[in-house]
């Protein structure tokens, strides 16, 4: 489970990146967080990964406070970033082998890696090709494979669908659904309204570091997500409900 409790981050230059953010991602749930650039989505992920210390509040992964024990907390989380280049001189299998070892998975075989790479939609011919010759979509699939191999109960995804073609995007959503079905807590920051609507259990909107809206997918069933997005991204939305704290 992922949980943010009154998470606040103020940078040294005084900029308030996160303002009393609270949310919870339950096991078997996909939580999609929307927000314009600079809204605080990536900062939230960085706080969960221990790359930034919070000014106040707590980020918990499986009940472990990230700021207090980052290494123990990170055992329980996989991460997929927006645009990871990976090691260009390595093949997909070599990249996967290295990162799975860093994740503590030491007993996996080449067959296991091939199975995961196949699952994320990478062509077999590409397994032994150097990653520097990969397209962005292929690299993104490999990044997802790295997260899949780690098999952590929580997954953080930072705009993972940007740059993916429709086919890759669809395959990616299938993997996320599989993760949810396995009981993982998935937190995804994204701008991709359409794909998010297909898989999200809950959707949050962030603006200026604040969670300004939080709804379940059932709540949104009869709403136009694009209109909502535009509405909540505006400076002062006409009828912005207060962010439900502690959800």
């Amino acid at each position: 489970m992922l949980e943010a409790i009154n998470l606040t981050k103020r940078y040294e230059d005084g900029e308030l990146a996160l303002d009393n953010l609270s949310f919870k991602v339950e096991p078997g749930e996909i939580f999609c967080m929307f927000g314009a650039n600079g809204a605080g989505k990536t900062t939230t992920i960085n706080l969960f990964l221990g790359f930034l210390p919070p000014t106040s509040g707590t980020a918990l992964i499986e009940g472990v406070d990230v700021a207090k024990d980052p290494l123990r907390a990170k055992k329980h989380v996989s991460f997929v970033s927006e645009n990871v280049m990976l090691y260009g001189n390595f093949t997909a299998l070599q990249n996967l082998d290295y990162f799975s070892k860093l994740a503590g998975k030491r007993n996996l075989t080449k067959k296991d890696y091939a199975e995961v790479l196949g699952r994320v939609g990478l062509q077999k011919e590409a397994f032994d090709r150097r990653v520097r010759f990969y397209s962005k979509g292929m690299r993104q699939k490999l990044g997802i494979a790295i997260a899949v191999v780690k098999d952590a109960p929580n997954v953080l995804l930072d705009e993972p669908t940007s740059g993916l073609d429709p086919q890759s995007g669809r395959e990616f959503l299938e993997i996320l659904v599989q993760m949810r079905d396995k009981g993982k807590s998935v937190f995804m920051s994204t701008h991709d309204i359409f794909r998010a609507k297909l898989i999200a259990d809950r959707i949050g909107f962030m603006r200026k570091g604040k969670l300004v809206m939080l709804k379940t997918v059932q709540d949104l069933a009869h709403e136009d997500l694009t209109d909502l997005y535009i509405q909540y991204m505006e400076e002062q939305p006409a009828s912005a409900p207060a962010a439900p704290a502690g959800m």
Binding site: T42, N46, L49, F51, L52, L71, R72, K74, K75, V77, S78, F79, S81, N83, V84, M85, L86, Y87, G88, N89, F90, Q94, Y98, F99, K101, L102, A103, G104, G143, I146, K150, L156
Partner: protein
């Protein structure tokens, strides 16, 4: 986990185009430099043997001792076998020291004076390759070690695991260093093999120890740049910035500091020029010669009456007088020259010492001085050789003076033929390794201190590095 990081780092480096480029260039340059060094050494050795034989032939060809005293003899400096890897100042300072009654011995006939074009380009020895080329490669291997991973996103991905940062930087440092040494080790081993199989190159036990210590110094020097690269890479957020900063530092460290140190020392502790000293010595020599002629004339005038009484006894007395007088005049000249020389050397040493110590801020200078000391091709070796020639000079002067006195027949005016078999020989003992090592220890220590400072800097910076 550490092993995995090291393995990844090595694999990532050796599969990169920069490794292939470095390996090829290192192999070509190192082998070429050692080949050039070996060729030069063989030529110098041949020249040394030839000059000894020629010197003996010249001496024996002289009609008498006076003539030999006039031309003097030549003491040749034996070439150093480790000049094949560290040529030092050998080519610049000269290989021969003429020794005669009047002049103060100095090294002449340098390779640069006989062919000034060598001075323009300098020597392409192994130390030059390490100092200039390989230090640049060390930067090339490390400038993006940290910041490059940040740009690729792999740093964030790696640290999203329960991976301690200290382990990651340690693994990267060890793996990166091994990758840097690989293209260096293979050509170095080939060079050693080349030295072993080349005829005329004979390395004794001490030479091997010296050579290994020189190689150790090379590795330490490269480690300085490697850890500096890691440090800068862990302090910057763009690899292009890291590269530019490192390039700037490289120019300052390798090019500017050593030269600036010499100029600063020259300004702070000026010494009279060699011409000034030579002019003073010449003036005194002329003064002594003028006084001598006057004194001899006075002696002859004063003792002329005795010559008529007993010519044989007078001749013996005159011979003895001349011998004593010559020795006394030579002693006066030597003492005066020695006083000038002492003063000059003292000032020169003070200036040199200041220049050396100032320049040691740069690892390039520590490498230069340390490896030259170990290879016995540095300033100290030059001073030792010159000191041995200066010690030899009075011994030779005494011998030639006594021979001149003994050989003159005043009745016939003839002199006996010369025989150089009993001439005292110049002895030049090579410095023991332990002594060289003691003098090289400060340079080893400085390089180690720099490695520790830069590595600790990289380590601490990485612990607080913003990986976002």
């Amino acid at each position: 986990m550490l092993r995995d990081i090291i393995k990844k780092e090595i694999l990532d480096n050796i599969t990169s185009p920069k490794f292939v480029f470095t390996f090829l260039l290192c192999t070509i340059l190192i082998l070429l430099s050692v080949y050039t060094g070996v060729t030069n050494y063989r030529a110098e050795k041949k020249e040394f043997t030839a000059s000894l034989a020629l010197n003996k032939k010249n001496m024996e060809a002289q009609p008498n001792y006076s003539s030999l005293a006039g031309i003097g003899i030549k003491v040749s400096k034996p070439p150093q076998v480790l000049g094949t890897v560290v040529s030092g100042i050998e080519e610049a300072v000269g290989r021969v020291a003429p020794v005669n009654i009047a002049a103060d011995p100095n090294l002449i006939d340098s390779k640069y004076s006989s062919n000034p074009v060598f001075a323009v380009f300098g020597a392409l020895d192994l130390m030059f390759i390490v100092k200039i080329v390989l230090s640049l490669f060390a930067i090339l291997f490390t400038y993006d070690a940290i910041v490059g991973e940040k740009e690729k996103g792999t740093l964030k991905l790696a640290l999203s695991n329960d991976l301690p940062r200290d382990r990651l930087i340690l693994g990267k440092a060890i793996g990166g260093y091994i990758s840097l040494l690989l293209p260096l080790l293979v050509p170095l081993l080939l060079s050693l093999l080349f030295l072993i199989i080349t005829p005329d190159i004979s390395l004794g036990g001490q030479d091997w120890a010296r050579l290994l210590l020189v190689f150790l110094m090379f590795f330490l020097y490269l480690s300085v740049f490697f850890s500096l690269g890691l440090f800068v890479s862990a302090r910057t957020s763009r690899s292009s910035t890291s590269f530019l900063v490192l390039l700037f530092l490289w120019v300052i460290i390798v090019m500017v500091i050593p030269k600036a140190a010499v100029i600063t020392a020259g300004q702070l502790r000026p010494i009279p020029s060699v011409h000034e000293i030579t002019a003073k010595k010449d003036a005194y020599l002329q003064q002594i010669q003028a006084e001598s002629q006057k004194e001899v004339r006075e002696w002859v005038t004063k003792n002329q009456a005795d010559a008529a009484k007993d010519p044989k006894a007078w001749q013996d007395k005159f011979k003895q007088y001349l011998q004593d007088f010559q020795q006394e005049a030579t002693n006066k000249i030597d003492q005066n020259n020695a006083a000038f020389e002492r003063d000059y050397q003292q000032k020169k040493r003070a200036q040199q010492s200041l220049a050396v110590n100032l320049s040691r801020i740069s690892p390039a200078s520590a490498l230069t001085f340390g490896s030259m000391t170990l290879a016995r091709t540095g300033v100290d070796e030059y001073d030792r050789f010159l000191a041995s020639v200066r010690t030899y000079k009075p011994i030779y002067t005494k011998w030639i003076n006594s021979k001149m006195g003994e050989s003159i027949n005043f009745q016939t005016g003839e002199q006996t033929k010369i025989n150089v078999e009993d001439m005292p020989q110049h002895v030049y003992e090579p410095e023991w390794l332990s002594k060289s090592l003691v003098r090289a220890i400060p340079d080893f220590a400085l390089l180690l201190v720099m490695i520790i400072i830069f590595f600790v800097g990289a380590y601490v910076s990485f612990l607080h590095y913003d990986v976002r």
